[in-house]
């Protein structure tokens, strides 16, 4: 959930706040909840909703200016450098995408939601979600392929 929020917000602090709020809301309403889908889908969708709400409220595109505070995985130094570089480029490229496109990619690849579940979540057709996903990946390849 934190990975998804971070990918969509580009800021670890904001992502932590988002996940925090999702869990608190979940705990508050847990006794009343009637889940139509699985718990994982519910929680991932809650993160996506909260991110969308946060972005709308602030009416601003989140830049990756403060992406430096994203904690890198603990791995051996040479790999870490390489992974951090690639990770930073990937996050940077994702941050340039329109939110709906970024959301389709992140929810499908990181949230493991099906295109149908994402379509229901975004209130659009499956074809639209698939197009966003396909064009998004193509764009990512171009952006990352042009790198060093």
């Amino acid at each position: 959930m934190l990975t998804i929020a971070t990918s969509m917000l580009g800021n670890l602090g904001a992502a932590e706040d988002c996940v925090h709020d999702v869990f608190v809301d979940f705990a508050t309403a847990a006794a009343e909840l009637r889940l139509r889908s699985g718990l994982r889908v519910y929680l991932v969708a809650s993160v996506a909703n909260r991110v969308r709400h946060q972005l709308r409220r602030k009416s601003r595109e989140v830049s990756l200016a403060d992406r430096a505070d994203i904690v890198a995985p603990t791995v051996e130094p040479p790999t870490q450098v390489m992974d951090c570089e690639e990770e930073a480029r990937l996050r940077g490229a994702l941050a340039t995408f329109p939110h709906e496109q970024r959301e389709a990619i992140v929810l499908h690849l990181q949230g493991q939601l099906t295109f149908r579940e994402i379509a229901r979540q975004q209130g659009v057709s499956i074809n639209t979600v698939q197009s966003r996903y396909r064009y998004g990946l193509g764009k990512l390849r171009v952006l990352l392929g042009a790198g060093p």
């Binding site: 934190l2 990975t3 929020a5 971070t6 990918s7 670890l12 992502a15 932590e16 996940v19 925090h20 869990f23 608190v24 809301d25 979940f26 705990a27 508050t28 309403a29 847990a30 006794a31 009343e32 994203i70 904690v71 890198a72 995985p73 390489m82 570089e85 690639e86 990770e87 990937l90 996050r91 994702l94 990619i105 992140v106 690849l109 990181q110 990946l137 990512l140 390849r141 990352l144 392929g145 790198g147 060093p148």
Partner: protein, 302 residues
């Protein structure tokens, strides 16, 4: 480092990981726990304060039926506990062990929903005593005295009556509901006779607790689902599922050390009017001597 293909790009995105700090984890856990505790307190107080507010359908036949069903559910559960079982192998033996352990409890508290009506029931087994609090009825039945005491908030009246010999005579609708529970009892009995042949067993997680689920299949596709705490080895939830897969009723079960002393302990106002329609002792004698012919007279007296 260049991306070589779509699959590489997808893999790279999947592998992106954000790591949280211990302090953030702690903050989330603490705040979520506090929210959960507040939610449970609120729900509990709403449940108590809304007890009489929700009696909007008290006079409908369905509501009476549901209340009857709730009482039957408790009594049937108690009967099931009290039934003498033979030890059988397989799943039935495990279920039997759980029932025996549960039976050792001083009190059993059931909380759930039957036919759309909320139910709170307390059962003590030695001797059998049953307390019930539903949305619009508070009742107590004692097997030793055979007396049923019921409070109807609509007219703020507590009515005490004798149920000896006519255990389901209170409203006639009990009979219809009772037949449903008789069918349930037959399922259990049949499963017992066939050495667990119709009892399936699987592991499940209910409300965060690992439990063993026993499924007793009915003749027409209905099911009784009995969940057992594998550590305490006691029944913690009973569900009745119809042939269409819909939940008919469910009860969560816990084991308090003490139960209610009387119906006043369940929120019945102390200034409620009391109507005791139990026949006097000499009338009972007359009734037994006349082979029950005095029943008509008794009905008029009531």
């Amino acid at each position: 480092m260049r991306m070589k293909g779509v699959h590489d790009t997808e893999r790279s995105i999947r592998n992106l990981r954000a790591r949280t700090s211990a302090s953030a984890d702690e903050r989330i856990l603490e705040d979520a726990s506090a929210a959960l505790a507040r939610s449970m307190r609120k729900r509990s107080s709403q449940s108590r304060s809304g007890l009489w507010k929700r009696r909007t359908t008290a006079k409908s036949r369905w509501a009476v039926l549901a209340a009857a069903a709730a009482i039957c559910a408790v009594v049937v559960f108690a009967r099931w506990y009290l039934t003498e079982h033979k030890v059988m192998p397989s799943a039935y033996a495990e279920l039997l062990e759980a029932v025996e352990n549960s039976k050792a409890a001083e009190w059993v508290h059931l909380r759930g929903e039957v036919a759309g009506q909320e139910l709170d029931g307390w059962v003590s087994f030695h001797p059998l005593r049953v307390f019930l609090r539903s949305n619009f009825l508070v009742a107590n039945w004692d097997s030793a005295t055979q007396r049923l005491t019921a409070y109807d908030p609509a007219n703020r009246t507590i009515r005490t009556q004798d149920t000896a010999g006519t255990p389901w005579s209170i409203p006639a609708v009990f009979e219809g509901v009772n037949s449903f529970f008789d069918a349930t009892m037959k399922q259990i009995e049949r499963a017992k006779e066939e050495e667990g042949a119709e009892i399936a067993e699987e592991k499940q997680v209910v409300a965060g607790m690992r439990c063993t689920l026993f499924i007793i299949s009915g003749e027409k596709g209905s099911e009784n689902r009995i969940m057992v705490d594998p550590l305490g080895k006691r029944v913690i939830r009973v569900e009745m599922v119809g042939a269409d897969g819909k939940l008919i009723g469910a009860s969560d079960i816990d084991y308090p050390e003490t139960g209610p002393a009387d119906i006043y302990a369940l929120g019945v106002p102390h200034d409620a009017r009391v109507e005791d329609v139990t026949p006097p002792a000499d009338f009972k004698d007359l009734e037994s001597k006349s082979g029950g012919r005095a029943g008509g007279v008794r009905a008029r007296l009531l």
